[in-house]
Amino acid sequence: MQVQPHSPPELLAGYAARPDRYDELCQRIGSVVVVRPHWREFHRALEAMPPDELGARRGALRRQVHENGITYNVYADPRGFERPWELDLLPYILPAAEWAQIEAAVVQRATLFNRILADLYGEQTLLQQGLIPPALIYGHSGFLRPLVGTRQPGNLFLHLYAVDLARSPDGRWWVVADRTQAPSGAGYALENRSLVARALPELYRAAGVQPLVPFFEGFRDSLAGLAPPDAEAAGEDPLIVVMTPGPYNETYFEHAFLAREMGFPLVEGQDLTVREEKVYLRTLEGLRRVHVILRRVDDIWCDPLELRDDSALGVAGLVAAVRAGTVTVANALGSGILETGALLGYLPRLCQHLLGQKLKMPSVATWWCGEPAACAYALKHLRELVVKPAYPTLGERPVFCRDLPTAELDALAARIAARPFDFVAQEMVNISQAPVLAVDGEAPGERRRDDACSHGLVARNIGLRVFAAAGPDGFRVLPGGLTRVASEADMRIVSMQHGGGSKDAWVLSTPARTPPLPRIVPGQITPPARGLRNLSLSSRVAENFFWLGRYSERADAAARLGRETLARLGEAGSATGAGSPAEDGNVAAVLLALCRQRNMLAPEPAEASEAPGAPKVAQQADTPPAPLVQALFDPEQPGSVVASLRQVLRLAALVRDRLSPDSWRIYNRLSEFATPPEHAPRLGDALQRLDESLLSLVTLSGFVIESMPRDAGWRFLSIGRRIERLQFLAAALSALLLTPCAGGLKALLAVTDAELRYRSRHARGLAPQPVAELVMLDADNPRALRYQLDSLAEHVALLPDGRALAAPLRRQLEALDALALCDCFVHELSEHGARAGQRPRHCEPLREVLADIWQCGNQLTDALGERYFTHLDARSRATVSR
């Protein structure tokens, strides 16, 4: 790397340390502002970079985020359903000594919270002794009464805990909020680390940063230790699953990421079922007992039978299984109750009572209005406070009273007075600032221009989310965490949901505590110990793989057919075309009909009522290319290239935990082609776009063949591909081989990618029989009909109980073999027959076989659905009687 002797002057030019906030980077000594010691080395290295270097690295980081498909879903986000993760290139740096204090405080708090939960769902001595006001618990919808009296292995209710910290102007750390339900962010923190360490490799190595990976490995291993004792007695390997609400959840990326990194199946509620008070995973081989559930579903949604009966996310009977002690849920059901600001004021005395210790880190001053004295204080000082609901309520945001008009403030005061138990008031904290790399003054998470080039550091408000996980010897803290950055210079809420970015957090090692040699990829967890990895496939995942295979093949066929049709239409419309206009018009009409049959083009009014089958031969293709160009990229047209690619991406997201990062990158590249072009493309552009889509699809299928483990997921993916290709070939053959049209054979070879192979075998030009041999009967051509049947029969027979399903495929193979010998096939398709003119070819047996094969594809799809897949129409529903 080139090193410039002098620093670019603008790096700190726009950086304003504010006197009313603690600045993480700079400190004021007398009248001089200097960089804090633990930042100095890093700052020097930044300054030594050539002017364009930071911008280039930031660009590379952003590309990597996109390629890895790191997203955070925001429902109402104008940028679409999935929002790319916002990550700043610069880490947030903490010195070892300061971290040691944070670590100790977080361990203490996690321990304390676990003890509180154990008491609330056990003896309830804290309520009896008045150490926690009963109203705080009884009025909380997160107090799950059906769970009272349940036991947890090791008396652990809290397995993963997160806490949001902020620093006040005097440099002290405060707790802003606790996350005890199903904390999110640890997976993003790990991903941030691997990205930033890769973007700043030399700075990362030089800094001596404490690694994150051991924390996750420890957490994974301790989850295995939570399996109920009866599992061990029965000699069962513990099956641990990650339960997600599904891809619409805002942190779904993280669910899939953690499941994949830790080697646990990612499941949805419908994948699990309870029998005899035990939890099972529905797999292709049947029900498999589940021992530990790492849940990312909020607890009240976890069991429609005993908790919220309108939940479609849960598992009916889960609470009964927990009660029976046959499954461990982490965090325990009911743990969300501690996510209330109302509890904060009671923590010092609870800590003294339960742990015999002073609370190490204070919480932001909080008044729960359910306590009369606190309520009086809050009402008196309302103007300076932030008011929040005492019990978590969906969608309610904190109210900054300072901003309220007097009338609204009075109305709020009246609401508090009427229902004091429901509110907490909190002190406003001026949280600290840290440097963020800005290009043209715009930091991550903010609107920006891509042509921006000047860069520098700007100050943004930050908060730090720290994670602790229960292990055999107490809680361990992730050294670092998720640093969240407010999106605008004066934004007071630091939240991923409300916009804003993130940072990697670097905790420096003490000299005595030298970190182990940095790993090659700092964010990657080593493969789990034997017995933990589990590859059994849920029915839902199998179904998703099947359709993933079908749609990627459908996109491929649509692109090939679209390309050929456009080319023929283009030739037909231009006098300089290769063939005579009349001939090409003819084949274009046949191709258009095939497009319509495959739903790539809206049916013509006259054609709409016709049954699908061999497309009708139109006399002349009057349709100019433009409508087809538009239809091919129209997401509303069900069979279009764009619509099929969208399905591919949707399904790939659903099985994301089972896709390697490399294959995910290939899927991600496809997303470019899954959006309609902004302007209707000209013919040439359209052809190029189709070529590029095809190239990505081919890369994908090549990758699948080369790299995917040969497990059940791969098998269903392959079956889906083969069925789709089988049906496409049957339709294309029926249209282009049996309908006499000039150029038909050429088009057939083009859409089945067989031109080269044909030419290498037959130098003498096109003839129906050799084309039919190649596209129908060749057992070695992976795009021949026979090959699909062979391959399908082989795959299906290897499924559990799959032999019977393969029988119809074998019958079709026999029919194909018989066809090769039949007279009409030999005569009608012979060169002589072909030369006999443009009369239709009456090869009835061939027509029948093609129709049967088409049908066979449909029947196989139905049979697979019946035997292996989850039925979406058979979702569970709640019933009640009066």
Partner: protein, 312 residues
Amino acid sequence: MALYDILHDTTYRYESAVSLSQQIAHLRPRECVGQHTLAHRLEIVPTPAQCSERSDFFGNPVTAFALHAPHSQLVVRARSRIRVNAPAWPDPALSPAWEAARDHLRDGLSGHAPLQADARDAGQYRFASPFVPLGDEAVTYADYALQCFTPGRPLLEALLALSAQIHADFRFDPAATSVATPVAEVFAARRGVCQDFSHLTIACLRALGLAARYVSGYLLTEPPPGQPRLIGADASHAWVALWSPGLGWIDIDPTNAMQPGVGHITLAWGRDYGDVCPLRGVILGGGGHAVDVAVTVMPVEDEAPGGADAPD
């Protein structure tokens, strides 16, 4: 003292087969002051793959069962023989002022003053619950109740007045509401059934800062003189209990504006209907379904067990 045989039959008919059914039944009457279950039996057809009994958080007996084989109909028959010896209502005039009950709960539940075990338990029923939400609308319930809960009025006098006011202002109309109708809608439409009147009464009492619970049970409806009892004509019933310091739980039936007596048989209690609904379940498959509930409360003259229909 009175003796009853109670038949409570629930029949689900499904459009298509149900492949998996998990159910929780609150159909065994709980033991309580003045009421004792002499015999109880639960018949389930088809026979469940699994069936177990336990107590829920509120101390009600519950039966949990599951069916794993496909079925298109589920019949649950509960048979109970119950002896009722209802306690007399205390003299309303001698009950404490209603504000005293409110302040006692408030101070104890907020940690301001120590709280006895029974008052702490009553605190469970002091706050909003799924069927009785108390957001900003709570103020309207409080205003409605304050017409009866005038300053310093003895708690039970005020309670009787509220019950009478609701009975006068609201019309009994089974067509007006369903299981899921929110209290706010009932309050606006001024009509509903016993479940609605109970939830509304509870909402009013809790909005004032009092503890009130939902009681699920049966009511002996007397046939008009000279006419035979109609088997199955009776439905399951619901009423309310209010907690008073010193007096404990006092029942009130706002649907009939009466103090429950030997004609009221308690099945279970909880914060609201959702805690105690007779049969709740989750099914897989089934398509649409129809549910048919038949309740019969028959007075028994002679305690000696006998007759074909006697519970075992």
